[in-house]
Each structure stands twice: as C-alpha cells, then as structure tokens.
C-alpha cells in the first residue's frame, strides 16, 4: 500500500493551501447536505444539555399560542409546551432511530448481498429468493406484529425498519455485485492469487460503494418518514418521549385550531430528508474517482 508519508514527507503550508482549494471545489450539494444534516445533529445533541424550556413542563394557561408569541417563537402545543423544545427533543429521537436502523440494515443487507453474489450460480438463485421473500413482507405489518410482541416503542420502530430495509439492501447489492464479479479486474485479482473473500471486500465492495451510499441516504430519509409514520400510528415511540412523528400525531386533531403545529415538524422532516439526500449524492460524486474533480481523499 503506498504510504502517503513516503510521497509527501512534510505537510507544508503549500499542502494546506492545496487541501483548502480542494475543499472549496467540492460539489455544492455536498456542502448543503452536510450543513443540513450536521445542523440537525447539532440540535439533537444540544437538546441533551439545553432546551429553551423544561421539556416536561406543562403550562396550560399558555396553551396553543400561535408562532411569534412572546417567549414562544414557534408557539405552544395543546398542553402549553414550547414547540421549539419539542422539536429539539424530536430531532434526537428521529435521527437516532433512522441512523441506527439504516446503518444496521445497510451493513447486514450489503454483506448478505455480497455473500450471495459470491456463492456462484448454484446457490445464488435460492438465496436471492430469500431476499425476495423478505422484500415482499409489508413493512408496516411487520412493525405491528413486532409491536404486539415487544410492545410499542423505539426498539420496535428501529427493529421494524431494520427488518424492512435488510432485504432491500441485499437485493440492491446482489445485482451490481454479481456484475462486478464478472469484470476483468476481478479476474485479474484472482490471477494475483487473491481469495474470493478478499476480492468481494476489496474490489467489489468499493466499486458498488457509491451505490450503497446513495441507497443509505435514501434509506435515512425513508427511515425518518417511517419512524414518523410508526409514531403517528402509535407503534413507535411513546409519551413522554418526543418524536417528529408523534408530534404530527398529536397535532392532527388540532388541524383546524392550530395548523402551525403540523407545519414545524413537517418542515423539520423535509429538511432532514433533503439533507441526507444531498449529502448522499455529493458523497457519491466525490468518491467516484472518475467523477471527482479533485483528489483529496
């Protein structure tokens, strides 16, 4: 493996300038996506230390204040709780569930997909069908079954999303991985004496990596929506824990009295989903050596 230090013995000012210039030239969607995602991550982390109001404090006299009211920028909900505080707590839960479930599902699904692609023609058919069976299970139904077994909650929502996503990730991996395995450079790697496992992990995986990144970014976004949906349906997170989905759920009966209660969690979901999508798209561009305009990685 070429050692960087062997080629660039000292990191001088020129190198720093070079890196800076390379960073500036990164694609704009990547910046925007990273900014949005990091903002929400920051808000979620901040909620552990500071929120404008005590999250549990109920202040009935101040209930259903519209946005822009004194002391409550985004208004209050039906129990007089501050919307900003609730959104910050919701970010914590929504990000936690979506990041955890997507990471686990893509990792397991991709590894299974690689394994299936590497087993050769005889086993690939039956094993792919297993993924197809998983794919045909309706995810919401799985979530309800899990909820009756484990009770509603964060774990149930996370597990349901993982079970839902693993076959998707596997199915998306199998096809391209099989294609890459048939390419000349894989054969060349075998000709260097490399084992099938090494080839799968070091040649096939990096080459389908951009695809997996896009898949993960779409899944992050979908997971946030699914988490919201599950919470909305009452299978996900339970009171007093907050989540954007549960927030929407509580706002629904008040749609006429306080439509703004729907607006803010909705905007939060839209921006996060957009952020993950832009981030994934930007990462895919710079990780592909043929598309990257710069080479800082």
């Amino acid at each position: 493996m070429p050692d960087d230090s062997a080629i660039q013995p000292d990191a001088s000012l020129a190198d720093l300038k070079r890196v800076f210039r390379a960073v500036v030239r990164l694609p704009f969607p990547l910046f925007l996506g990273a900014f949005l995602v990091l903002s929400f991550v920051f808000i979620a982390l901040l909620s552990f230390f500071w929120t404008p109001y005590d999250p549990a404090a109920i202040n009935v006299p101040d209930r259903l204040l519209p946005p822009g009211s004194d002391n409550y920028i985004f208004g209050t909900d039906r129990l007089g709780r501050d919307v900003v505080t609730q959104l910050m707590l919701g970010a914590r839960n929504s990000l936690y569930v979506s990041v955890l479930s997507t990471t686990v599902a893509v990792t397991i699904g991709a590894l299974f997909g690689l394994f299936v692609a590497g087993t050769g023609p005889r086993w690939q058919g039956p094993l792919s069908r297993i993924a197809d069976v998983g794919l045909s299970l309706p995810g919401i139904l799985v979530a309800f079954v899990l909820a009756t077994k484990l009770g509603p909650g964060n774990t149930t929502a996370t597990l349901a999303i993982i079970v839902w996503f693993i076959p998707v990730a596997a199915r998306v991996t199998i096809g391209p991985a099989t294609q890459v395995l048939a390419l000349d450079y894989v054969e060349a790697a075998f000709a260097y004496g490399r084992s099938r496992r090494f080839v799968l992990m070091n040649h096939v995986l990096p080459n389908i990596g951009p695809l997996l990144i896009v898949l993960a970014s779409v899944m992050f976004a979908a997971a946030i929506l699914i988490e919201a949906a599950l919470s909305f349906l009452g299978v996900g997170v339970q009171p007093p824990t907050s989540s954007w989905g549960r927030f929407l759920n509580e706002a629904q009966p008040l749609l006429e009295a306080a439509p703004y209660l729907m607006f803010f969690p909705g905007i939060a979901i839209v921006l996060t989903v957009l952020g993950f999508n832009l981030l994934g798209d930007g990462l895919r561009t710079i990780l592909d050596p043929q598309q990257a305009r710069t080479g800082i990685f």
Binding site: A6, L183, D184, E187, Y192, G193, R194, N207, P289
Partner: protein, 327 residues
C-alpha cells in the same frame, strides 16, 4: 517447466479444447495462435484454474514437476500471481477503477511476499520503472482512468511480474491497444522475459505479433493443436494447411516485399467461418474450409507428425509429403 498433456476442457457436452501435448521450457516464449473461439484463451485460463465455473478440465498440467489440475483454490492461489503471472486482454477493464495504481501493482506483492510497507513501496516503484513508466512516484496515487491505454497495460505487466514469476501468461496483451503502442508493449515483454529468464505463454490471434515475440509457435484450430514448432520453421515452411492459409491471410507476412505490404493486393481469405461448437466436421476439424481436403481428411487426423522439432497433424501437408526419415 510447463507441460500440458491430454488437456481437455469441456462445457456441457462440448469439448472446447483438447491438447495432447504442449511444452513450455523455462525461459521460452511460446505463442498460442488461433482464431476467436479456437479455445486458446480457455487453454491459458485453465492453466491457472480460472476457467469458467461450468467448465470441466481433465488431463494433466504440470508446472515444475507438480500437477496443477485438481488443486484446491487455496493451493492454486499460491501459484497465481506468485510463480505464474497473468496479463489480461483489455487493460482498461483489467484495472480496478476505484483503486490507486500503487495498491493495484502491489496486490500480489502484499499477498505473496512478506515485506514491510516501505519495502513494498520501493518494490512497486522499481517495477514501474522496469516497465518504463515515467514518474513512478506520481503514478502511485493515480487512478486507472488517468492513464492511457499503453500506460495501463504497462501497469498490468508490472502487477503480473511483481513477484518474479517463472511463467507469464499474456492473453492477447496488445489486442485492445493502438498499433503504435503495441510495438512498445511487445518489445517490453520480450525484454523483460530475456532479462528475467521468464517463460511467456503468449496467446494471440495475430501471427504477425506472435512471430515478433515468440521463439516457438503453437497453432490451434477448433480447440485442437494443429502445428507446433520453432517460429521461423512454422512461418517459413508451415506444414499444416490451416497455418498456411492463416499466413496467406496476413498482410504483413504474406507480402513478398515491403511495397506489396502497403499497396493494393488481394489477400487470401479462409473460406467460411469457424463452425459453432458441436458443428465441427468429423475427422480433421479444418476439413470443410480447406482447399486441399481429400477423402483421407474424413478420418481422424494423424497423430502429431514430427519433423526436425516441428510437429503437425495433416494428411495433405503444405510443402509436400512427410520426410519420414527426419521424424
């Protein structure tokens, strides 16, 4: 060094390759010549055990006295990239587009040799210099798409010879390249083989190229060896009718003088095309395309007729009857 005996490669009911005997002595360059679909690549791939998964290989291939066929994947992997290097046809596709050149070239080194990181880098640099690539240090960090076709092929050659193999199998190494680039690559191969005493099995459809590189030529038709011998002997006094027609169809070789090579002259062609698998005629497989076919050709072709180290199997050999005494 490499001895092939009764090698048979079949897929389903069709026997694609059947080679009774082919030797490659240490340090020799042997050309395996044939049309597309003649089974030459299949032969080369079965030597390193990289034939398609559904191909069945029987017979015997010994490398330095030990049998290669029937080895487990792990045992075979020790030979691949170590004692036997392989260069694939299309350099643009044989390099992993996501992997930097440095890692790519060092792949076999990291696997087969126990070297420190520094030593690996040094070795890669010296290999890149040996294949005459400019600016090796810069090259380490480049990606394949940043190189030209000729440079890519040189990188592949560097990877294939990284662990000082005793045998290099080159499967049409110049077919995908520009003619002007071809020559440089061929010269490099010859030079490396001479310097290192490395045997080369050069697989190609181009007799003109093989003639330039190899000391010995083996001609395959329909998966059968039809003629083997020293290059000059096979090219000047080809005996098998297929080799003869192949030479007559090559503008560079068929021309009797320099001028004729470039100026309008009708080339001889070989009638028809290679039949589909299973459609080969009985007896001599070249019979239905041969101008000299006789009734005898319906019978199985003779076993290799040997003449001054030049072997062929033909009932009606070019250049007259067999000199039985010479055999």
């Amino acid at each position: 060094m490499l001895e092939i005996r009764d090698l048979s490669v079949s897929i389903g009911p069709h026997e694609i390759v059947h080679i009774d005997a082919l030797d490659l002595p240490a340090g020799r360059r042997v050309g395996l010549v044939g049309e597309s679909g003649s089974g030459k690549t299949m032969t080369a791939m079965s030597i390193v055990g990289l034939q398609p998964a559904d191909a069945k290989v029987t017979g015997s291939i010994t490398f330095e006295g030990s049998e290669l066929l029937g080895r487990s994947e792990t045992e075979m992997a020790k030979v691949r990239g170590g004692d036997i290097g392989l260069i694939l046809q299309d350099p643009a596709r044989a390099l992993d587009p996501m992997m930097r050149i440095g890692r790519q070239v060092s792949e076999a080194i990291r696997l087969h040799m126990n070297l420190s990181r520094k030593e690996v880098v040094d070795r890669v640099l010296s290999l890149l210099a040996q294949v005459q690539l400019p600016d090796p240090e810069q090259l380490l960090r480049r990606y394949p798409h940043q190189l030209s076709g000729g440079q890519q092929q040189r990188v592949l050659i560097a990877s294939a010879i990284a662990c000082d193999p005793k045998l290099l199998i080159a499967d049409e190494p110049t077919t995908a390249l520009d003619v002007t680039v071809q020559e440089g690559i061929l010269e490099l191969l010859v030079q490396l083989s001479d310097e290192r005493g490395m045997g080369v099995l050069f697989v190609s459809h181009d007799l003109g190229v093989v003639r330039f590189v190899c000391e010995e030529i083996a001609v395959v038709y329909g998966g059968r060896l039809v003629e083997v011998g020293p290059t000059t002997s096979v090219v000047r006094t080809s005996r098998h009718r297929y080799t003869e027609s192949l030479l007559a169809a090559n503008p560079g070789i068929a021309a009797s003088d320099e001028l004729e090579q470039y100026v309008g002259r009708r080339l001889d062609v070989i009638r028809g095309s290679v039949p589909a698998l299973g459609d080969f005629p009985t007896g001599c497989r070249f019979r239905d395309r041969c101008d000299f076919a006789s009734d005898a050709c319906r019978e199985p072709p003779p076993t290799m007729i040997s003449e001054h180290g030049h072997r062929f199997r033909c009932w009606n050999p070019a250049g007259g009857d067999v000199d039985a005494a010479a055999g």
